[in-house]
Symmetry: C2
Subunit: 302 residues, 2 copies
């Protein structure tokens, strides 16, 4: 079971306030200390567009991670990759992204899907030449807020192209929480056939409360790689008040309760989420933060 | 697929303020209008203990429900049943309850499980003599906050006794959200073997975010009866801030998205939840209230 923590990028990016670099570094190190072995640290985006991540270079330089952690950086374009490569020794993986639906891709990055694929091709080639591992994430893979249904065939064709362009892992994002368990199960069964040798990752949002039900369906279809965010941070909650990413601690709790090993210390992960809560000065919304882990260590009944 | 709406009892009971009878009646009628065909209307409890439901008789007398609705009343004991029977024509079903774990039952109703079973036996006999349908709910069926693990064998033995005492339906309550999908699947498969001819109902809480994942697991094990609460009301949220019952609108949304027919109009159910929100004067927390239903009615991509 592999879990990529995306909170330091996806979460911090969506906060109204800019966290100090030292706070980010502390939180990332707490996540590593909790046993997270895949962490998306930041993104090299234009600081005028996303001031929350303007300190990407400083975060990479300051953070100290054990060798067990695969650190990744979200790369919006070739220029972002060049900036990141100035700190090549600080990360092992890049994440590139596009949307499966034309209108979402257009509104998100101002390009057609074909243009995004061409750009990702160049980015991935450069990254592979630098011996970086490459993940590609396809947003709106289970539905688009502007276009509605997105055909699985279309998503898988894009995924196949991404694999040809060098992606070793492909994440499928349920960007606005439209997926249901039946759809998820059917999709990943088809994806496994279409993409042999590619690591398939599920990135669910809990927008409509089905996040962990979709995780269960994905597990049942053989998926063993997930993305989530500590404290339930981020995930572009739209409309305001809606839930975004599934919370890492809720995911880990369910997996552990099901007897699935993750190598993550749930107590320490919760400590990291509590530290984020304190740093942000507002209550975070994950279920485990409110309820705490299940406590079975009591004398059994009857 | 059968869904029992428990908000008017479980939800209103757990509100700090007492809702006016007319408001309760309006909300119940909205739920019926949305197509809910099983509604727990109130409970005949001691008004000094639960003042929120002191108007049980007035609610029963005032509410106007279509013949398609099976109205039920939660009955804490034989005395409560006698009070309810003064309004016999106003409901078709009673719900009796106990806990699977001794300490939870003791703290909840001040009786041993054996004493509760004896009382339920008398209550059910009287109810059956009045041609009332009988549901029994077993709380802490998947774990107890005081005792930890509760053996499925113990829960099923209690369930068998309840069936012998006249329960036609048995609900299994995950009172503090300790259940996980693997546990749920195994439990209901065993329950179906142990309790032939008894309707088996799942009553999940979303305390740790696994509510709908547990619904999915139960569905896969053949369960087709669920209890939930509109607006995510009630469910004894402990500690404060934790989530209780799964929200009816979140449940219905997932079922509909999976192509499972419920006969419920999700838009009207959301209207009822919004009306409850307005009546209570605070934002309710269901996911659908924030995010709205999935909208697939847009031009498809590619």
């Amino acid at each position: 079971m592999r879990i990529r923590e995306v909170g330091p990028r996806d979460g911090f990016q969506n906060e109204p306030e800019v966290l100090p670099t030292a706070t980010k570094v502390d939180l990332i190190e707490r996540l590593a200390c909790a046993g997270l072995t895949r962490i998306e640290l930041t993104s090299f985006v234009r600081p005028d567009v996303i001031p929350q991540l303007a300190d990407a270079a400083a975060v990479l330089e300051a953070v100290r991670l054990p060798a067990s952690v695969t650190a990744s950086v979200l790369i919006p374009n070739e220029r972002g990759l060049e900036s990141a490569l100035e700190h090549r020794s600080k990360f092992q993986e890049i994440n590139g992204f596009l949307s499966a639906s034309e209108s979402h891709n257009q509104r998100n990055v101002g390009r057609s899907v074909a243009e995004s694929l061409a750009g990702l091709g160049r980015t991935f080639a450069r990254a592979r030449a630098e011996s970086l591992r490459v993940e590609a994430v396809i947003s709106t893979a289970f539905g688009c807020p502007y276009e509605g249904r997105v055909e699985p065939r279309r998503v898988l064709q894009i995924a196949e192209q991404l694999a040809e362009l060098g992606a070793q892992e492909i994440g499928f994002g349920d960007t606005t929480g439209m997926a249901n368990p039946l759809q998820v199960a059917a999709f990943f069964e088809e994806a496994a056939r279409a993409l042999p040798g590619v690591e398939l990752t599920a990135h669910f949002h809990n927008t409509r409360g089905q996040g962990l039900a979709n995780v269960l369906a994905a597990l049942q279809s053989g998926v063993s790689s997930f993305e989530s965010s500590f404290g339930e941070l981020g995930g572009c909650p739209v409309p305001r008040g809606a839930t975004g990413n599934i919370a890492s601690e809720d995911l880990v709790s369910m997996l552990h309760e099901m007897g699935i090993h993750t190598g993550i210390d749930l107590g320490r992960l919760l400590d990291a989420a509590r530290a984020a809560q304190q740093a942000l000065g507002r209550p975070l919304r994950s279920h485990l933060l409110s309820a705490g882990p299940v406590d079975w260590q009591r004398p059994p009944s009857g």
